[in-house]
């Protein structure tokens, strides 16, 4: 498979290094969702940069998805760092620890930093991506953030690759720009499977793989987070209601082929 044909972005200089298969000992971050893991050949690459895009209305789904992936990457043992810009705090609300704990996270391991401007945010992100002790790094940026350029993303990706820290970059209300990210996702909410008495069930989100560095993209999955087992699963497996046919992974794959 020739990569440059699939990736419609300028091929960065360091692309050879980025495109290497995951290093030995760097097992991929599995999601627990069978179809998704199979589609990604095992899971999300560890020690890489992953971008999550969402509209501002679905920002909490993107934050949740990043938190869940960070829990998957981390296992809850190592400290994990969450960096946000001020707009995230102002418009998205503050991160709520009981909610993080309810997702199976460990609030006592969370380090949270809020920055006035994107320059500080990216600078801190770069610094943090070099720190080997972090279990995962989440960077949440609201707005277009013109300072996040191809060069910046490459620096972040290289730092993450060197340290082995998996970096999840949440971008709310932003248009994708060429970047050195290993994967790029779009996250949005999807109706949950109701509990008894029509109560809202476990949160369901629909994610679409917008782009992948070494493989095809364009597939969509529906995922439900199981906070007890700390894994994603297909919502159809959890309850009597089947997922709508048009969202089945196979369907999406056919579409993207």
């Amino acid at each position: 498979m020739v990569e440059s044909r699939i990736i419609p972005f300028p091929r960065p200089v360091a692309a050879d290094r980025m495109a290497q298969p995951a290093l030995a000992g760097h097992r991929p971050v599995t999601t627990g969702h069978g179809d998704l893991d199979a589609g990604l050949h095992g899971g999300l690459a560890r020690g890489r940069l992953h971008e999550l895009f969402a509209a501002s209305g679905h920002a909490s789904q993107a934050a949740g998805c990043a938190a869940m992936l960070a829990i998957r990457a981390n296992g809850g043992a190592a400290p994990f760092l969450w960096l946000r810009n001020e707009r995230a705090e102002r418009e998205g609300g503050r991160l709520y620890m009981p909610g993080l704990a309810a997702l199976g996270g460990t609030p006592e391991k969370l380090l949270l930093a809020t920055f006035r401007d994107d320059q500080s945010l990216l600078r801190a992100a770069l610094e943090a991506a070099r720190c080997r002790g972090l279990g995962a790094l989440v960077v949440e940026s609201w707005g277009q953030a013109p300072l996040y350029t191809l060069t910046m993303s490459r620096r972040l990706a290289l730092a993450a690759e060197k340290s082995g820290v998996t970096l999840f970059l949440i971008r709310i209300d932003a248009e994708p720009v060429p970047s050195a990210a290993a994967t790029r996702w779009s996250v949005r909410a999807a109706p949950s499977l109701p509990m008894a008495a029509n109560a809202p069930g476990h949160g369901v989100m629909e994610i679409e793989l917008l782009r992948r560095r070494n493989g095809p993209a364009g597939m969509r999955w529906r995922m439900e987070w199981n906070h007890e087992e700390r894994r994603f699963r297909e919502p159809a497996l959890a309850g009597p209601v089947a997922a709508p046919v048009e969202y089945r992974a196979g369907d999406a794959r056919r579409r993207s082929a």
Binding site: G57, H58, S60, Q61, A63, G64, C65, A67, A78, P79, L81, G92, G93, R94, L95, Y96, M97, P98, G99, L100, A101, A102, L103, G104, T106, P107, E108, L110, L111, L112, A113, T114, F115, S120, A124, E127, A128, C131, R132, G133, L134, R188, A189, A190, P191, S192, P194, M195, A197, N198, A199, P200, G201, H202, G203, V204, M205, W225, H227, E228
Partner: protein, 493 residues
């Protein structure tokens, strides 16, 4: 007791003893009115209706006393705290610096008087004698030994039983006991009595536990010629740090806060401070923090006509044992890397920028978590509740503080929301769960009157047709005077 209470007013501190409020400590006014420690508070108030009562706080007393002890280091390096009410100062060889005994006492009285504290001071040849004179002495003393002999036997601090036994034997003063053959005293009243008497008369020395006082960790470097290059000054600062780390190691300490001051020949001084999350003796790391701090200065360091002195002060430190050099890698190494990252980010962006969270005991959702600077160290683990098995998260991932006011269409008086408008968009509720009623913590209401506390909140977990999940609440109830208001409090993932 501070403040506007006149010294002769009857004052008592009470404590709960055997299920009853009893007097613990009495002021002179209360003693004069016939009250005794151990009396029930109700009896005492019967005797003295105007009695001023406050809670006894021995730990607080001790803390205050230790602060005063630190203050007394100005007179002598040897200060000991005795019980919860006395300070012992060994002034041997220090008196001439302060102009004699009377001058020292006058100075202490003046300083403590400003804080509203009274002092009973006494000088003697030994600590027990001085304590006894301060507690039981009457009037000025010319001959300490003679004065000690006339003190009542309670001054020996042998306890109520021995005091009664000695009094029955006709011994009422220290002198009475001291002049008897000691073998007889030991046989009848125990060896402790003899030891107390011998210490009181100065025959035996008694050890004192002085508060450790250490010279501050300040390191100076003076330059023969003013130096005009900041880089050069920073290199010298690095040398000072290396020396400081050796001094810290000798004391088994690690620095937490470091302050460097660069003095210019024209008298201007620049102060730079850095802090670390864990105690450290890594000079290179601290130096990196200093460089980071200098980089983020709004106006850069300007040597002007040159620097002539550097001062490094370690303003906070913690115990830190000898360190094993670790081989490359390993978990400890990675942990240290995280600590170093926290230090660097805190130095560059401010300690309040990077936070950790601890849980608080509260029913009010926004008060459950408390943020604190990450540099203060990790929080205690646990304290966060998980949803019951099989249930989705009942608390949102993000919380609006303050909650966002929204317009809601709901059944009156206490039905669930059907539709709501937030930030100019209309959301149709397709699923809901609730209400979960969270009453206000009325005991925290300022007036203490439950009916005047903040209104009750009824929380609903709702989902709209597209799967967005919200945490809404109705503030207040119908029929309580105020119309209830709806708020959006959080968003579920």
């Amino acid at each position: 007791m501070r403040g506007a209470v006149p010294p002769e007013a009857p004052v008592a501190l009470v404590t709960k003893l055997r299920g009853m409020m009893r007097l613990a400590v009495l002021g002179p006014g209360a003693v004069a009115a016939g009250l005794r420690p151990g009396m029930a508070l109700t009896d005492a108030q019967g005797l003295v209706p105007e009695l001023l009562v406050s809670d006894h706080d021995p730990a607080g007393d001790r803390t205050t006393l230790e602060r005063l002890a630190d203050g007394c280091l100005r007179y002598t390096p040897h200060v000991a705290v005795e019980g919860t009410e006395a300070l012992l100062l060994d002034l041997t060889g220090c008196l001439h610096l302060h102009g004699g005994e009377e001058a020292v006492v006058a100075d202490i009285e003046r300083r403590l008087g400003r804080m509203g504290l009274g002092v009973r001071a006494a000088f003697a040849y030994g600590p027990e004698a001085a304590l006894a004179l301060a507690r039981f002495g009457r009037g000025p003393v010319t001959d300490e030994r003679a004065a000690v002999m006339t003190l009542p036997i309670a001054a020996l601090a042998l306890g109520q039983e021995s005091d009664t036994a000695l009094a029955r034997a006709g011994l009422t003063t220290v002198g009475d006991v001291a002049r008897r053959p000691q073998a007889g005293i030991a046989a009848r009243f125990g060896e402790a009595a003899v030891r107390a008497v011998r210490r009181m008369t100065g025959e035996v020395d008694s050890p004192l536990a002085f508060r450790p006082s250490e010279e501050p960790l300040i390191f100076d470097r003076r330059f023969a010629e003013p130096i005009a290059r900041t880089d050069f000054a920073l290199e010298r600062l690095e040398e000072l740090l290396t020396g400081a780390m050796v001094a810290l190691e000798a004391r088994k300490l690690g620095g937490r806060r470091f302050e460097a001051i660069v003095f210019r020949t024209d008298g201007a001084a620049r102060r730079l401070a850095v802090a670390t999350g864990t105690a450290t003796r890594d000079g290179a790391m601290v130096m990196r923090l200093f460089r980071e701090r200098i980089e983020t200065l709004d106006d850069p360091l300007d040597p002007g006509f040159g620097y002539d002195m550097l001062r490094l002060t370690i303003t906070a430190h913690d115990p830190l044992g000898a360190q094993q050099m670790l081989l490359e890698g390993g978990e400890a190494e990675e942990e240290r890397e995280v600590d170093a990252l926290i230090d660097r980010l805190s130095t560059r962006f401010g300690a309040r920028t990077i936070q950790r969270f601890r849980s608080q005991d509260s029913y009010i959702p926004e008060l459950v978590q408390e943020a604190f600077p990450a540099i203060d160290g990790p929080p205690p683990s646990g304290g966060w509740t998980m949803p019951p098995a099989g249930s989705p998260p009942l608390r949102p991932l993000t919380l609006f503080d303050p909650p966002r006011r929204i317009e809601v269409l709901a059944e009156v008086p206490d039905g669930p929301p059907h539709r709501f408008r937030w930030a100019g968009r209309l959301y149709e509720v397709s699923r809901f769960e609730g209400p979960e009623r969270i009453a206000s913590e009325w005991w925290r209401a300022r007036s203490g009157d439950p009916s005047r506390a903040a209104p009750t909140r009824d929380y609903y977990r709702v989902e709209d047709g597209t799967g967005l999940r919200f945490w809404l609440f109705r503030h207040g109830l119908y029929g309580t005077g105020r119309e209830p208001v709806w708020y959006l409090h959080g968003l579920f993932a």
